[in-house]
Amino acid sequence: MAVITRGFGGRRRDDADLPPGQYRTDDFPVLSAGPTPRIGLDEWELAVVTETGERSTWSWAEFTALPADEPTVDIHCVTRWSKFGTSWRGVSVDTLLADVDTAAEYVVAHSYGGYTTNIPLEGLLDGQAWVAYEFDGAPLAPVHGGPARLLVPHLYFWKSAKWLRALELRLDDEPGFWETAGYHNDGDPWREQRYLED
Protein backbone atom coordinates (compact mmCIF):
# COMPACT_ATOMS: atom_id res chain seq x y z
CA MET A 1 0.00 0.00 0.00
CA ALA A 2 1.36 3.39 -0.92
CA VAL A 3 1.05 5.70 2.02
CA ILE A 4 2.77 9.01 2.18
CA THR A 5 4.51 8.93 5.52
CA ARG A 6 6.31 12.24 5.17
CA GLY A 7 5.51 14.31 8.21
CA PHE A 8 4.56 11.40 10.41
CA GLY A 9 8.07 11.01 11.81
CA GLY A 10 7.61 13.96 14.10
CA ARG A 11 8.67 16.67 11.66
CA ARG A 12 6.20 19.51 11.34
CA ARG A 13 4.67 19.90 7.91
CA ASP A 14 5.74 23.18 6.39
CA ASP A 15 5.85 25.12 3.15
CA ALA A 16 8.60 22.85 1.81
CA ASP A 17 5.87 20.21 1.39
CA LEU A 18 3.80 22.56 -0.79
CA PRO A 19 4.02 22.43 -4.57
CA PRO A 20 4.86 25.79 -6.18
CA GLY A 21 2.15 28.43 -5.97
CA GLN A 22 0.06 26.56 -3.38
CA TYR A 23 -1.01 27.61 0.11
CA ARG A 24 -1.98 25.34 2.96
CA THR A 25 -5.51 25.04 4.26
CA ASP A 26 -6.96 22.88 7.01
CA ASP A 27 -10.47 23.19 5.57
CA PHE A 28 -11.78 20.97 2.84
CA PRO A 29 -13.20 23.46 0.34
CA VAL A 30 -16.00 22.19 -1.89
CA LEU A 31 -15.52 22.91 -5.58
CA SER A 32 -18.32 21.98 -7.91
CA ALA A 33 -19.00 22.64 -11.56
CA GLY A 34 -22.62 21.56 -11.20
CA PRO A 35 -25.32 20.17 -8.98
CA THR A 36 -24.48 17.24 -6.72
CA PRO A 37 -25.73 13.99 -8.25
CA ARG A 38 -27.67 11.91 -5.72
CA ILE A 39 -27.07 8.23 -6.40
CA GLY A 40 -28.74 5.59 -4.25
CA LEU A 41 -26.40 2.76 -3.27
CA ASP A 42 -28.89 0.22 -4.67
CA GLU A 43 -28.58 1.77 -8.15
CA TRP A 44 -24.89 2.71 -7.89
CA GLU A 45 -22.52 0.82 -10.15
CA LEU A 46 -18.86 1.16 -11.02
CA ALA A 47 -17.70 0.04 -14.45
CA VAL A 48 -14.35 -0.52 -16.11
CA VAL A 49 -14.68 -0.52 -19.89
CA THR A 50 -11.79 -1.61 -22.08
CA GLU A 51 -10.84 -0.37 -25.53
CA THR A 52 -12.62 -3.41 -27.01
CA GLY A 53 -15.82 -2.62 -25.15
CA GLU A 54 -15.49 -5.32 -22.53
CA ARG A 55 -17.19 -4.23 -19.30
CA SER A 56 -16.46 -5.21 -15.73
CA THR A 57 -18.97 -3.89 -13.22
CA TRP A 58 -19.30 -3.83 -9.45
CA SER A 59 -22.41 -3.24 -7.41
CA TRP A 60 -21.95 -1.33 -4.15
CA ALA A 61 -21.84 -4.58 -2.16
CA GLU A 62 -19.31 -6.12 -4.56
CA PHE A 63 -17.18 -2.99 -4.65
CA THR A 64 -16.98 -2.52 -0.90
CA ALA A 65 -16.14 -6.22 -0.47
CA LEU A 66 -12.93 -5.76 -2.49
CA PRO A 67 -9.64 -5.45 -0.58
CA ALA A 68 -9.30 -1.82 0.49
CA ASP A 69 -6.39 0.47 1.35
CA GLU A 70 -6.34 3.33 3.83
CA PRO A 71 -4.07 5.91 2.22
CA THR A 72 -3.12 9.14 3.97
CA VAL A 73 -2.13 11.65 1.32
CA ASP A 74 -1.66 15.33 0.57
CA ILE A 75 -4.07 16.82 -1.95
CA HIS A 76 -3.51 19.86 -4.17
CA CYS A 77 -6.27 21.85 -5.86
CA VAL A 78 -5.51 23.92 -8.95
CA THR A 79 -7.27 26.85 -7.24
CA ARG A 80 -4.11 26.92 -5.08
CA TRP A 81 -5.13 25.28 -1.83
CA SER A 82 -3.37 22.17 -0.55
CA LYS A 83 -4.46 19.99 2.33
CA PHE A 84 -1.97 17.77 4.12
CA GLY A 85 -2.53 14.32 5.52
CA THR A 86 -6.03 13.50 4.29
CA SER A 87 -7.22 10.01 5.28
CA TRP A 88 -9.24 7.83 2.93
CA ARG A 89 -10.45 4.31 2.47
CA GLY A 90 -10.75 2.95 -1.02
CA VAL A 91 -9.97 0.28 -3.56
CA SER A 92 -6.78 0.75 -5.54
CA VAL A 93 -7.08 1.03 -9.31
CA ASP A 94 -4.57 -1.85 -9.44
CA THR A 95 -7.14 -4.07 -7.74
CA LEU A 96 -9.93 -2.96 -10.09
CA LEU A 97 -7.78 -3.66 -13.15
CA ALA A 98 -6.19 -6.89 -11.90
CA ASP A 99 -8.28 -9.15 -14.14
CA VAL A 100 -8.76 -6.68 -16.98
CA ASP A 101 -7.05 -7.44 -20.26
CA THR A 102 -6.08 -4.20 -21.96
CA ALA A 103 -3.48 -2.56 -24.17
CA ALA A 104 -4.78 0.91 -23.28
CA GLU A 105 -2.45 3.76 -22.38
CA TYR A 106 -5.10 6.30 -21.41
CA VAL A 107 -8.08 6.48 -19.12
CA VAL A 108 -11.11 8.72 -19.08
CA ALA A 109 -12.87 8.85 -15.72
CA HIS A 110 -16.62 9.35 -16.11
CA SER A 111 -18.79 10.70 -13.31
CA TYR A 112 -22.45 10.57 -12.50
CA GLY A 113 -23.60 14.03 -13.61
CA GLY A 114 -21.49 14.02 -16.78
CA TYR A 115 -18.06 15.22 -15.61
CA THR A 116 -15.00 13.67 -17.27
CA THR A 117 -11.24 13.85 -16.79
CA ASN A 118 -8.36 12.11 -18.59
CA ILE A 119 -5.28 10.51 -17.07
CA PRO A 120 -2.55 8.28 -18.54
CA LEU A 121 -3.08 4.73 -17.30
CA GLU A 122 0.41 4.52 -15.82
CA GLY A 123 -0.48 7.48 -13.57
CA LEU A 124 -3.20 5.38 -11.93
CA LEU A 125 -1.23 2.18 -11.33
CA ASP A 126 1.33 0.97 -8.77
CA GLY A 127 -0.51 2.31 -5.74
CA GLN A 128 -0.93 5.83 -7.10
CA ALA A 129 -4.73 5.96 -7.29
CA TRP A 130 -7.84 4.66 -5.58
CA VAL A 131 -11.59 4.70 -5.86
CA ALA A 132 -12.30 6.11 -2.40
CA TYR A 133 -15.53 5.74 -0.46
CA GLU A 134 -14.59 6.89 3.03
CA PHE A 135 -12.98 10.12 4.18
CA ASP A 136 -11.75 10.60 7.76
CA GLY A 137 -13.37 7.35 8.84
CA ALA A 138 -16.86 8.21 7.61
CA PRO A 139 -18.75 7.52 4.37
CA LEU A 140 -17.69 10.02 1.71
CA ALA A 141 -20.18 12.91 1.70
CA PRO A 142 -22.00 13.63 -1.57
CA VAL A 143 -20.49 17.14 -1.85
CA HIS A 144 -17.03 15.57 -1.72
CA GLY A 145 -17.87 12.98 -4.36
CA GLY A 146 -19.71 10.20 -2.50
CA PRO A 147 -20.67 7.43 -2.82
CA ALA A 148 -17.21 7.02 -4.38
CA ARG A 149 -14.65 9.21 -6.10
CA LEU A 150 -11.37 8.76 -7.85
CA LEU A 151 -8.37 9.72 -5.68
CA VAL A 152 -5.19 10.58 -7.59
CA PRO A 153 -3.23 12.65 -5.09
CA HIS A 154 -0.13 13.12 -7.26
CA LEU A 155 -2.15 15.23 -9.73
CA TYR A 156 -4.20 18.40 -9.24
CA PHE A 157 -7.43 17.46 -7.58
CA TRP A 158 -9.68 18.09 -10.61
CA LYS A 159 -8.25 14.76 -11.87
CA SER A 160 -9.75 13.04 -8.82
CA ALA A 161 -13.22 12.82 -10.35
CA LYS A 162 -16.10 12.99 -7.87
CA TRP A 163 -19.13 10.67 -8.17
CA LEU A 164 -17.13 8.15 -10.21
CA ARG A 165 -19.22 5.96 -12.50
CA ALA A 166 -16.73 4.41 -14.92
CA LEU A 167 -13.10 4.15 -15.93
CA GLU A 168 -12.86 4.01 -19.71
CA LEU A 169 -9.61 2.48 -20.98
CA ARG A 170 -8.52 3.92 -24.32
CA LEU A 171 -5.74 3.59 -26.87
CA ASP A 172 -5.83 7.35 -27.49
CA ASP A 173 -6.03 10.33 -25.15
CA GLU A 174 -9.35 12.13 -24.84
CA PRO A 175 -9.22 15.44 -22.91
CA GLY A 176 -11.92 15.83 -20.27
CA PHE A 177 -14.11 18.62 -18.90
CA TRP A 178 -11.42 21.04 -17.69
CA GLU A 179 -8.72 19.77 -20.03
CA THR A 180 -10.81 21.00 -22.99
CA ALA A 181 -11.42 24.38 -21.36
CA GLY A 182 -7.98 25.78 -20.72
CA TYR A 183 -6.52 23.51 -18.07
CA HIS A 184 -3.38 21.45 -18.54
CA ASN A 185 -3.69 17.96 -19.96
CA ASP A 186 -1.39 16.40 -17.34
CA GLY A 187 -1.95 18.53 -14.22
CA ASP A 188 1.19 17.73 -12.20
CA PRO A 189 1.25 20.17 -9.25
CA TRP A 190 5.01 19.78 -8.72
CA ARG A 191 5.57 21.02 -12.28
CA GLU A 192 2.81 23.61 -11.78
CA GLN A 193 0.95 22.36 -14.85
CA ARG A 194 -2.18 24.46 -14.28
CA TYR A 195 -3.10 25.85 -17.66
CA LEU A 196 -2.76 24.55 -21.18
CA GLU A 197 0.21 26.80 -21.92
CA ASP A 198 2.15 25.86 -18.75
Binding site: A33, G34, P35, G114, A181, G182, E197
Partner: protein
Protein backbone atom coordinates in the same frame (compact mmCIF):
# COMPACT_ATOMS: atom_id res chain seq x y z
CA UNK B 1 -37.31 32.76 -9.65
CA UNK B 2 -34.36 32.58 -7.28
CA UNK B 3 -31.19 34.27 -8.46
CA UNK B 4 -28.99 32.13 -6.24
CA UNK B 5 -29.19 29.02 -4.12
CA UNK B 6 -26.38 30.02 -1.76
CA UNK B 7 -27.08 28.56 1.65
CA UNK B 8 -28.78 25.47 0.24
CA UNK B 9 -27.41 21.99 0.75
CA UNK B 10 -26.27 21.81 -2.88
CA UNK B 11 -23.19 23.46 -4.36
CA UNK B 12 -23.89 27.17 -4.64
CA UNK B 13 -24.72 28.82 -7.91
CA UNK B 14 -25.40 32.42 -8.78
CA UNK B 15 -27.30 33.86 -11.72
CA UNK B 16 -25.83 34.49 -15.15
CA UNK B 17 -25.12 38.13 -14.41
CA UNK B 18 -21.99 36.82 -12.68
CA UNK B 19 -20.66 36.10 -16.18
CA UNK B 20 -21.50 39.50 -17.58
CA UNK B 21 -18.64 41.26 -15.80
CA UNK B 22 -15.78 38.98 -16.84
CA UNK B 23 -17.25 38.48 -20.33
CA UNK B 24 -17.73 42.20 -20.87
CA UNK B 25 -14.15 42.79 -19.82
CA UNK B 26 -12.92 40.28 -22.42
CA UNK B 27 -15.26 41.12 -25.28
CA UNK B 28 -15.83 44.78 -24.68
CA UNK B 29 -19.59 44.50 -24.95
CA UNK B 30 -22.40 44.13 -22.45
CA UNK B 31 -23.57 40.54 -22.65
CA UNK B 32 -26.15 40.61 -19.89
CA UNK B 33 -28.75 41.01 -22.63
CA UNK B 34 -27.34 38.19 -24.78
CA UNK B 35 -29.50 35.09 -25.24
CA UNK B 36 -28.18 31.53 -25.42
CA UNK B 37 -29.84 28.52 -27.00
CA UNK B 38 -29.05 25.41 -24.95
CA UNK B 39 -27.65 22.57 -27.07
CA UNK B 40 -29.22 20.08 -24.67
CA UNK B 41 -32.88 21.13 -24.61
CA UNK B 42 -32.86 23.87 -27.32
CA UNK B 43 -34.53 26.41 -25.07
CA UNK B 44 -33.41 30.00 -25.57
CA UNK B 45 -32.91 32.05 -22.44
CA UNK B 46 -31.12 35.23 -21.46
CA UNK B 47 -27.60 34.77 -20.11
CA UNK B 48 -28.85 36.17 -16.81
CA UNK B 49 -31.23 33.21 -16.44
CA UNK B 50 -28.42 30.64 -16.51
CA UNK B 51 -27.04 29.14 -13.30
CA UNK B 52 -23.37 29.88 -12.81
CA UNK B 53 -21.28 27.58 -10.63
CA UNK B 54 -18.46 29.88 -9.63
CA UNK B 55 -16.69 27.78 -6.97
CA UNK B 56 -14.77 25.70 -9.45
CA UNK B 57 -11.59 26.02 -11.53
CA UNK B 58 -13.62 28.15 -13.95
CA UNK B 59 -17.09 29.66 -14.28
CA UNK B 60 -19.59 27.07 -15.46
CA UNK B 61 -23.00 28.24 -16.72
CA UNK B 62 -25.75 25.64 -16.83
CA UNK B 63 -29.23 25.69 -18.35
CA UNK B 64 -31.85 25.97 -15.58
CA UNK B 65 -34.09 23.59 -17.54
CA UNK B 66 -31.92 20.57 -18.33
CA UNK B 67 -28.77 21.40 -16.27
CA UNK B 68 -26.49 20.96 -19.30
CA UNK B 69 -23.43 23.21 -19.52
CA UNK B 70 -24.05 26.12 -21.91
CA UNK B 71 -20.86 28.11 -21.32
CA UNK B 72 -17.51 27.79 -19.56
CA UNK B 73 -15.13 30.63 -18.86
CA UNK B 74 -11.58 29.90 -17.74
CA UNK B 75 -8.89 32.44 -16.92
CA UNK B 76 -5.40 31.09 -17.46
CA UNK B 77 -2.26 33.06 -16.66
CA UNK B 78 -2.49 35.12 -19.83
CA UNK B 79 -5.68 34.14 -21.68
CA UNK B 80 -9.39 33.91 -21.18
CA UNK B 81 -11.15 30.93 -22.76
CA UNK B 82 -14.84 31.00 -23.51
CA UNK B 83 -16.18 27.56 -24.36
CA UNK B 84 -19.57 27.66 -26.04
CA UNK B 85 -20.00 24.11 -27.29
CA UNK B 86 -23.08 23.81 -25.10
CA UNK B 87 -24.84 26.68 -26.85
CA UNK B 88 -26.27 26.37 -30.36
CA UNK B 89 -26.71 30.13 -30.79
CA UNK B 90 -25.55 33.21 -28.95
CA UNK B 91 -27.85 36.08 -29.84
CA UNK B 92 -26.65 39.60 -29.02
CA UNK B 93 -28.80 42.69 -29.58
CA UNK B 94 -27.21 45.43 -31.67
CA UNK B 95 -28.23 49.04 -32.18
CA UNK B 96 -30.71 49.48 -35.05
CA UNK B 97 -29.01 51.35 -37.87
Amino acid sequence: MPTTNVGADDPPWVDGNALAGPLGEIMGTDLTVAELTCAGCRMTRPLAAMRVFDRAPGLVARCPGCEDVVMRLVRTADRALVDLRGSLVVSIPVPIT
